[in-house]
Amino acid sequence: MAKLKYLPRHKKGFIICHWLNGISFLMLFLTALPLYIPSFGDFYRAVGPHNLQLLHRFFACVFIATPFVGLFIAREGYKRLFSEALHFTKDDIEFQKKFPAELVGGEPDLPPQGFYNGGEKMNILLQMGLWCVLVASGLVLWLGTSLPQSLQAWAIPIHAIAGGCGFAAALGHIYLALGVNPESFQGMKDGTVLTDYAVHHHGKWVDELVAEGKVSRKDIE
């Protein structure tokens, strides 16, 4: 057992942004569901369509504002997010090839991973791309009434496809966090992770911490 039981992973500001993003995303999906899946139409009418439309716009503001809030309260975390996601390594690719076995309870022999693993990097890139598409098409739907008619018409399917893909990816993300690696969840609660977990799942990151002198080898072995 390691002497230092927990390693600090995320700062408070970053955790706040994560939950702002996650909750607004989920609420955006739920408030738009009746337009998306016709069988939810009665739910729409029961709650009052206009209420859901207003809520969709409210959470859209939260969703759009989150990264900008992050600029102030979680600059370091966002910087890391961008720089990691944009640097794919050989190990990341190998991780992506071998990891799927773990989804169904296998224990593949995975290469050591950095702060974010190959799968997380893929999710981050996907979410960043979808953020741009959802915000751009959403703003056209909301405020673009004087834009060319065909652009407004195209915003509808584009927004809907991005919403669906985003939801599927989010479910996958939640399953991995709660079902496959429940130890990681604490990182988004108090910002720490079990040292053993970090050594096993983010070996290169732990090496970094040691190299930077933030923890010593002794403490974690």
Binding site: Y36, Y44, T145, P157, I161, G164, F167, Y175, V180
Partner: protein, 270 residues
């Protein structure tokens, strides 16, 4: 089956008296509408509104000789054969009747505004208080009773005609020949097949459609098929697929785990 009907507005005959606007309001019990500001022109409202289904537009223009004139046109729903508004309505609130009228069912409408975004003519307007979409309904209720739409009935200059579609098409062609003698650019609009499936609101225009603020080549947007046939199914498959996939993966993982635990126990016991 009811007969397929159509309305024809002969621009060359229209005097711009706006009696049809008043008749439309009266039949639909719509209040006077001061929502668009007076801009020093003859035209009453800048655009259609949730309580103005029918608008006489006064397009100011100068002809080849530099002489000022108004190109007047009656503007309302074109009652498309393949209506973009209906195709793209997520609540199936819009239907196309046998008479040709495209009608919004108020109870089904949730005011999402997709019909307004999809309509190539920019016709439906969302009522910001009731949160419902509004537009001309071709007075389908009058048609059902064998009457003529209120606007056509009231027209003081015989510029609006209404009747079986084939008859209206014939009349349009006859009128075009006459109008061409004074307006060389005269043409028909919405008569015969086009990319919105033909219209049940047709025109004899004295000039190019652009002069009247009409799209030259209106089309039912392809993006609607994309939304209906691709976006929604993909989204639904992605949503339900992700849920099913997760449940499935969790089940397999659980199964493997319990088998491993069993092996473990057996080893210990043995």
């Amino acid at each position: 089956m009811a007969q397929e009907m159509a309305m024809l507005h002969d621009i060359s005959r229209c005097s711009g008296c706006r009696a049809c606007m008043v008749a439309c309001k009266q039949w639909h019990d719509l209040p006077a509408d001061m929502s668009t500001p007076f801009e020093g022109q003859y035209q009453s409202h800048a655009d259609l509104t949730p309580t103005t289904y029918n608008l006489i537009k006064f397009n100011e223009t100068t002809d080849e000789q530099g002489k000022f004139r108004w190109d007047i046109i009656k503007y309302q729903c074109m009652h498309c054969g393949d209506p973009a508004c209906r195709n793209g309505c997520p609540e199936n609130a819009i239907s196309k009747l046998d008479s040709g009228a495209v009608v919004i069912n108020e109870d089904q409408c949730v005011g999402c505004g997709y019909c307004a975004k999809n309509c190539p003519y920019g016709i439906p307007k969302i009522d910001g208080i009731a949160h419902k979409s509004r537009k001309c309904d071709l007075c389908f209720d009058r048609i059902q009773e064998g009457m003529v739409p209120a606007c056509a009935k009231t027209c003081t200059a015989d510029a609006i005609s209404f009747g079986p579609k084939a008859e209206m098409e014939k009349l349009a062609k006859e009128r075009l020949e006459v109008v061409k003698q004074s307006f060389p650019n005269a043409q028909l609009y919405g008569v015969g097949d086009n990319k919105v499936g033909g219209n049940h609101m047709m025109y004899v225009l004295t000039d190019k459609p652009e002069k009247f603020g009409l799209p030259a080549d209106p089309a039912t947007p392809k993006s609607i098929d994309m939304w209906k046939d691709v976006a929604r199914p993909i989204g639904q498959v992605a949503t339900f697929g992700a849920v099913a996939g997760i449940v499935g993966m969790a089940a397999i993982a659980q199964f493997r785990k319990s088998r491993m635990d069993k092996k473990h126990d057996e080893k210990k016991e043995g």
